[in-house]
Symmetry: C2
Subunit: 101 residues, 2 copies
Amino acid sequence: MEQGSDTLAMSESNAVLIGRKPVMNYVLACITLFHGGAKQVSIKARGKSISCAIDVTEVVRRKFMPDVKIKKINIGTDQLSNEGVTEGLTNVSSIEIILER
Amino acid sequence: MEQGSDTLAMSESNAVLIGRKPVMNYVLACITLFHGGAKQVSIKARGKSISCAIDVTEVVRRKFMPDVKIKKINIGTDQLSNEGVTEGLTNVSSIEIILER
């Protein structure tokens, strides 16, 4: 992982992490951040939540804030350590969508 | 097919549509296209298959073809007409990942 980029620092502070709640919860979180003065919001998700991250992005852009643009989409792999039945590391895909106003 | 837009023509012809099969099937499809001389392969998915599209991209890049780069990631919304229990149009998120060798 590279450090030292402003983009990373910005996105860290205004990150919305997608989990298993309804899409609208995360949409609201994004809108709240933008209304609070954020210029950039980064939406992060892993594994099966990735499709939810894209739903959130599309709802924010199409229904609520047409002035928001997608600045960048990063995809990657995270290694998680299993502590359950199987041992070792599992690879999980991840996505980061950076929205800009 | 229109002439003059090479990128579009290329990606249309070399598309891998992600469905419900195992990830490796789609990985093989991508590798086969690249080995057949394709310079670009576009991976397309909708709804819950989106996370699988990212898995495929990561496996192709990390395990098999490190020289493949992600040229562009597009996300969007497709409207599908329901013919089942509910009527009307449903919005489904979609993704297109364009890989370039």
